[in-house]
Symmetry: D2
Subunit: 340 residues, 4 copies
Amino acid sequence: MIIVMKPHASKESIDHVIDIVKSNGLEVHLSAGKEVTIIGVVGDKSRLSNRNLELAPEVDKLVPVTESYKLTNLKFHPQPTTVKVGNTQIGPGSLTVMAGPCAIESREQLLLIAREVKKAGATFIRGGAYKPRTSPYSFQGLEEEGLRYMKEAKEETGLSTICEVISAESIEAAVKYIDMIQIGARNMQNFQLLREAGRSGLPVLLKRGLSATIDEWLNAAEYIIAEGNENIVLCERGIRTYETSTRNTLDISAVPVLKSKTHLPVIIDPSHATGVRAYVAPLSKAAVAVGADGLMIEVHNNPACALSDGPQSLTCEQFDALARELAPFAALAGRKFHGQ
Amino acid sequence: MIIVMKPHASKESIDHVIDIVKSNGLEVHLSAGKEVTIIGVVGDKSRLSNRNLELAPEVDKLVPVTESYKLTNLKFHPQPTTVKVGNTQIGPGSLTVMAGPCAIESREQLLLIAREVKKAGATFIRGGAYKPRTSPYSFQGLEEEGLRYMKEAKEETGLSTICEVISAESIEAAVKYIDMIQIGARNMQNFQLLREAGRSGLPVLLKRGLSATIDEWLNAAEYIIAEGNENIVLCERGIRTYETSTRNTLDISAVPVLKSKTHLPVIIDPSHATGVRAYVAPLSKAAVAVGADGLMIEVHNNPACALSDGPQSLTCEQFDALARELAPFAALAGRKFHGQ
Amino acid sequence: MIIVMKPHASKESIDHVIDIVKSNGLEVHLSAGKEVTIIGVVGDKSRLSNRNLELAPEVDKLVPVTESYKLTNLKFHPQPTTVKVGNTQIGPGSLTVMAGPCAIESREQLLLIAREVKKAGATFIRGGAYKPRTSPYSFQGLEEEGLRYMKEAKEETGLSTICEVISAESIEAAVKYIDMIQIGARNMQNFQLLREAGRSGLPVLLKRGLSATIDEWLNAAEYIIAEGNENIVLCERGIRTYETSTRNTLDISAVPVLKSKTHLPVIIDPSHATGVRAYVAPLSKAAVAVGADGLMIEVHNNPACALSDGPQSLTCEQFDALARELAPFAALAGRKFHGQ
Amino acid sequence: MIIVMKPHASKESIDHVIDIVKSNGLEVHLSAGKEVTIIGVVGDKSRLSNRNLELAPEVDKLVPVTESYKLTNLKFHPQPTTVKVGNTQIGPGSLTVMAGPCAIESREQLLLIAREVKKAGATFIRGGAYKPRTSPYSFQGLEEEGLRYMKEAKEETGLSTICEVISAESIEAAVKYIDMIQIGARNMQNFQLLREAGRSGLPVLLKRGLSATIDEWLNAAEYIIAEGNENIVLCERGIRTYETSTRNTLDISAVPVLKSKTHLPVIIDPSHATGVRAYVAPLSKAAVAVGADGLMIEVHNNPACALSDGPQSLTCEQFDALARELAPFAALAGRKFHGQ
């Protein structure tokens, strides 16, 4: 950490800051410029966590030098992580495609879609059993019943399964039925839930919060990994901006940024990022080209009647066509894709 | 709801949309312009919730006409609500001031601050027992022990008490010890928690999400009120924008906007909105002038050593001085303030 | 346009609105719902431009149905436009690559870079002669002298030339020396400049404003096209958001959104979008995959000493390597790229 | 400036950076931590402006320590500036109210409004003669004719006059007729215009750009002041955020932030900030309470027929009522207000 003093700060104020730092067992390096004096703090800055140095006299600002996330940080773990889920793996060399309906509506619906996306090349079936909805008057999900259908879909098709969890109870249920759990955007900073996901032992897909910075996102992942669970995949799904022609703004740069900051795999969800079916195919190709490790795509047998997110869902036929288009992009990007 | 067709849409496409609407028991009004045909839907549009009309051929867009929140909507409940908590009330005619430390650190600390803020004119002591922190390596709160100290503070000073809750368990504990619960910004769309807060029977302070629109915020309040709990107070605490000179951007316009959309009281938290102690006093005065029903302010006996949010906390002396400054503004705004 | 009345608006208020509309020579379609009455306005709504109907009693809101941009609108011009510049063309079937330094620093620098980017496959040399800089103490450009070097670069290499203009004088100078002018992000709503660019007769590259919506951007293009100049290319260069790990946030979805709204070509500038050299290559590939008609990339012979934007500039060798990587993506996207 | 090296950077890389700094005539202070080495640069960092140190091997990031704006910086000019315009002054101790129509529509309209706002207590008449409009099909202003009406309004009422300028020509015209010029939000980074405004000799009102940070805004003011013109007033008019219930989001915290960073006066424009008439009065009171030096408010004799911005304009009667309400707030804030 660096402490920047106000211009022409008095020796007394500078000494006061130095005293606080030293009395907490840390060393300082002083750099006295013509106008501004800078105090570098050497050692573990967490020792200063309850000393609010910005309140000391004539302190202008504190500048952090190292990130607050450690276990997810590429600097301390320079090899990319591959996350294993069932027979599949997410990470370098693979293009993982997770597909399925926003909400599980019935056993028949889920099995039908599972068969179709399997045929087209997906390796995961996704589907919501617990639905966080903006309005309390919208469909809220089939809950545990939905998870049982997921298990059945896996048994029939061999696809790996992923569902969103929203509470300790839903994690307990998930452990019994499915392969991977998802923390949704609205819960990215539900720290209680992150810890419980960490302890569940299941691989976790952590979606980016609606307006989370990349640093906050990696700190959220740190909550999971700090519980001993390293099987984390990050999922960019659009951030909130002033632009309204898409539901959110897909931050595609997040992929190369994350590749420079963390060892965890990153996938992209173009369906939630845009909210518009017609934009899913071009953005999926862009995601592969930019270096994402996978895609999460909403697919529905009859989008016009979907109970949730119909307008952004592909039909099974559209998904099949997209998978064919993606295959040569995956090959160019050096990734194995089942659909090939 | 209004359905806007694409320019020169075919009669076939228009009839198709009309058929869907009518087959769901609703009426249409057709408005055929020179280029564009508009179809007004008359009746309860929730009947169309699983018909995704934007996917029908030649539909350009759907335009909602009524809001999705009902019980919190001023249109259907035109009198402002006054929320009663203990011996105090929040709403028209009063300026409620909630003050206290970000985190409860010890029994002594809390009682000391409670006495001081009571003397200065606050009617609520606030303090966090369960702390949602961005990094897992920061102090996470005293939990139930903290709640017991709150109860003690109430018994000694007569102040009403408010604490943030983050899970079903913390709500259960809160019911035993405190007067009002707070849903924090990061949990504004934790719908499970909203429902449980609704069922708790306690008055609820609902903070605005980090990047929530006002409509999403009112829909979140709708989750609570739909459980039969009308004792809801909204708290504006800054939204996320590109500006970094304050931690968040206080959306002060939210106060008059909310006054035109809902009957629920609105308070402002200038401490979290800015993250800087020096800005708390001017923004508190602005909050009173703009018509807020109250303020939530962080006060600490020794901010330089606070375990959380020290840089934005006032000292007890600063809070006392602010209360004196606020009194004439409260009078001008036609609000009773204990500190007067 | 649709006029939505407040719930249970009086007949008098409804009639008052209808009178205003009719007295301006327009027709209405009335749609009286159970709670809300909707008034559709049929005809040219510009006749109501000086009647502020939202101020009429019991009007809730106005909902525009058609866009305010006409000549740039795909609805009224459904074929994609190809813009011809010199011997090259920008639009369907081509991948146009514009490359060069942020600022023209000297004749030697520009000619050296022009030769290198030509060799690698660019068809345009870009370079700033008039530099809009955030601080008045930064390098401001060589002005007309720079334009002369651009002309020389064109004569030697055959590349087309593009420079930013910032005033009527710089447009006058540009007409003498270069092939295409650029309106920068900071001037996207400098309406005076847009009109003058329209009248210049030169093709115009219109960058998206720092926080412009897509609709505002198309309205800005409408200023140019309304002067009779249809040779407009749009350039997405990142928008301002709360995320700080990149200088701006590249809104890659803008490409498919624009393709659904306008007939004008769209290119992407990954250099300004991110401000970081290492992210330029992955985002360039994403841009091609998503369907952009071209790229604008900063290239410098010695980025470590560039007078402007060095950190985001590729070296000539890096650009050459990128061009080789882009070629198969261009082929997959069905676009001809000189570098192939 | 501080240069932060990557963890465990080699001695060679560190020496390379030190060599660059020293060879540019600057000194370094080295602070070697356990993991990270920090290099403090002592001296005038502008000497490094063409050395892009972030590109040197193993450099992690550069951290600026001092601001790039100097003459507008409170650190180097600690007394607040009072700007004199005609017989009035803007700054400490006064509440300046500028009022008038968005666009000057006719001589009669302007004179009528001028008389009314004068009576209510305004000291400035505002009115647009050159209108930057989002769509080219909207009313664009009376230009020089409008400026002449402003002069007439001044002669009759004694009010000071202010108009927006959008080009060198409009500044030339303004010098002949009016007292103060305004640079609008869309031109805040039109650096050519800023320089010309600086050279005009007239006091300048500089509106904040649509999505400008406070630092960019002060750098824009630096362009004006660097031409020797110190008579600058800043005007906060709302920033672009994701919230759509107001046209922009009024960043009221900008007032105390600016007071801590610059000596220039700051006023607030609640009309453009919200776009809604009903919100102007509460926000005006908040602006006075927060410490603004003045207000700019749109007033129209017949908002229902205004050619521009009618929905946000007060009627003359509403403005008069607001002035009466503001007077006691001004008194509380220790500011003289003509309307008292």
